[in-house]
Symmetry: C2
DNA sequence: GTAGCGGTTGACAACGCTGTCAGGTTCATT
DNA sequence: AATGAACCTGACAGCGTTGTCAACCGCTAC
């Protein structure tokens, strides 16, 4: 298939005509009206090269006149692959976590690519704690035959899930996986680097006792942030101390719990950096409850820039994760990978950006 | 098509066997292995009646052995309709509104139906301010040929959008439309009723000056809540006063603005009921800034039960909108409508439920 | 013994498109 | 004027299902 990077079936420039004419005309009708063969219409529709301008115009006119749109099922059948990208992520309704924003951003990213390349997006939330999840994904892929699969974190870290998808032979890209495998496509953000950056930022404000709340142990990418925290400490000439590290599990509640412990010490930290925003907001909540003014007496920073981060008071300093861009890049690899020559493996890193808001300030 | 209400292609009870065997076997292979005709395999796969048990078992065994899954494109082509439900909603990235939770819930609802009926979900956020949106939807429908379209609010209120979908002839269901048209399918929640209920609840706490912040004028369903507010006032024997009504636009910011005005009056209201949660949270924020304790000096209530409602401090009293259930019911109408005899129009009402949390209390 | 009738099965033609390949045109080159 | 080469175009065979319809089987009813 030649398929120029263009995508959508050609339509003459003018807007869709009144399509009261919903007569689902076929390529045959167009061919007849234009006085050419089916194949030629197909060529025009797919923007294949090698059609004389005059012919193309005739065909385009006929297409517009009949309000023709190719039948996707037939196309996919003939080309033996569906114009579909499948986005697989952790089911938000399984937890009660506010991961909605994360998912929406992922979807946005994939959708951008879909729109520009004539693909459709199939979404598939699933629950990794479900025993059957591997089979479920295989079935999905067998049924839908998508051009590729984008596997979002934290699912991208579960071997059984990766294996299941891999077994189908369908191209896939992992997002923010904890560890990389060889010969595999990955899009990640630089968690370690930006966590270090945040730590340095806090240190530069004069903080000396910077606590860290770790993420869910299964979520590897979040784990890298801990490494980044240590990097940042070292780079700022600060001592690492176990006492300043609390274990969290990415949830709001675990952030609260950690803060309860940290903030009630006689010598409490002057800054708390949480591995994600949910926990950071938990810290904020506890601080408010304990009457500790933020940022005057305590600086709080998170990671991810969830919607809530902006709405909470004081607005949370955090790191904006480029989720949507990551998903976009991943989808692009998939789309290109099938249209052009199969690309080899590759890792794309999309950088996150510091969002400094109100919850951080000079050390007291 | 006979198609029992069952859906997924039959698989023998046991789990998928090791499917290293990803050989994309076709119905032909199965037929050969089982020693029957293609058509018989098709019957078994589709759970059609009239296959002898012994034959069915032979076929199921062959299916399991070859790890066969029907090709969706081929199916859709032959049956001339795709097993797809299309969910169309307002693009959250177009605004900067935190509508992610809303969308995720809608998706959840549709997905439940998809899963149980062998459909897939196609999502299509779009921007109603875009001139081309009608054509865009027509193209989508022409291309994907979904079994039906679920049109979410606030999009369900725009005539040009409804018309465009209607013109394609594809069955569709509107969610929470502002006004109903005849001969049309609708799923709505009882906005007016529950807004009245909330108002009565506040009145029952002793509040006499209950303010209301209206929603975006274009969002009709939210408009009904204003009517409900007046109903509630009347039912509680309270006088309606223009002075207690502020115009909002569904955004956090507009909630803040309204609160700034309301709460700085010498005789401020003792309760504020906002037409949605975003605005209610805005009120909470302003109250905190002005040092007005909630709920001791001021009760605040919202509508929708967005994720944030639970996380904010104090947790927001609100009304849980049954978005996910609404989407589910809508999808069900679509799926049934195409599988069974075309159902006539109908309106389904799914009730919302009061969620009383910390932000409301007895009048001071 | 035979017509008739459910119950069961298979042959075959779509479904609407793409890929392959051969055939036809056009045009510059010898 | 003949020879290619480059360019266009169309015939045709799938792609893997489902729908239609005819055929067959075994049995009951006459």
């Amino acid at each position: 298939m030649i398929a120029a990077s263009g995508f959508n079936p050609v339509r003459t420039g003018r807007n869709c005509r009144d399509s009261i004419n919903m007569s689902k005309s076929t390529i045959n009708d167009v061919a007849r009206l234009a006085g050419v063969s089916i194949k030629t219409v197909s060529r025009v529709v797919n923007r294949e090269a090698g059609v004389r301008d005059a012919t193309r115009e005739k065909v385009e006119k006929a297409i517009a006149e009949l309000n023709y749109w190719p039948n996707q099922s037939a196309r996919d059948l003939a080309a033996s692959k569906a114009h579909l990208i499948c986005l697989v992520y952790d089911d938000p309704s399984a937890y009660r976590l506010p991961s909605a924003g994360y998912i929406i951003r992922l979807q946005e990213g994939v959708l951008r690519v879909c729109r520009s390349h004539g693909y459709e997006l199939l979404i598939h939330p699933c629950n990794y704690r479900d025993r059957q999840v591997g089979d479920e994904l295989k079935v999905l892929i067998h049924r839908a035959r998508p051009a590729g699969v984008v596997l979002a974190a934290p699912l991208s870290n579960f071997p059984k899930i990766v294996k299941a998808i891999s077994a189908t032979g369908t191209p896939f890209v992992r997002l923010s996986p904890g560890q990389k495998l060889t010969g595999e496509r990955v899009v990640a953000s630089n968690d370690r680097a930006f966590a270090a950056e945040m730590t340095c930022y806090l240190a530069s404000l004069g903080h000396r006792r910077i606590a860290f709340i770790t993420g869910h142990p299964k979520h590897k990418a979040v784990g890298h942030r801990f490494d980044g925290y240590r990097d940042g400490l070292k780079r700022s000439g600060l001592e690492f101390s176990e006492r300043l590290v609390m274990a969290g599990d990415n949830s709001f509640g675990s952030g609260e719990a950690a803060a309860m412990t940290l903030l009630q010490r006689k010598q409490r930290p002057t800054a708390v950096f949480a591995a994600n925003d949910d926990m950071a907001v938990g810290v904020l909540r506890v601080a408010s409850r304990l009457g500790i003014p933020v940022p005057e007496q305590l600086s709080v920073a998170g990671c991810d820039d969830i919607t809530l981060a902006e709405q909470v008071h004081p607005a949370l300093t955090t790191i904006r994760q480029p989720f949507s861009t990551m998903a976009e890049r991943a989808s692009l690899m998939l789309v290109k990978g099938t249209e052009e020559s199969e690309k080899p493996n590759g890792t794309v890193v999309v950088p996150g950006t510091l969002k400094i808001r109100e919850s951080t300030g000079p050390a007291p």
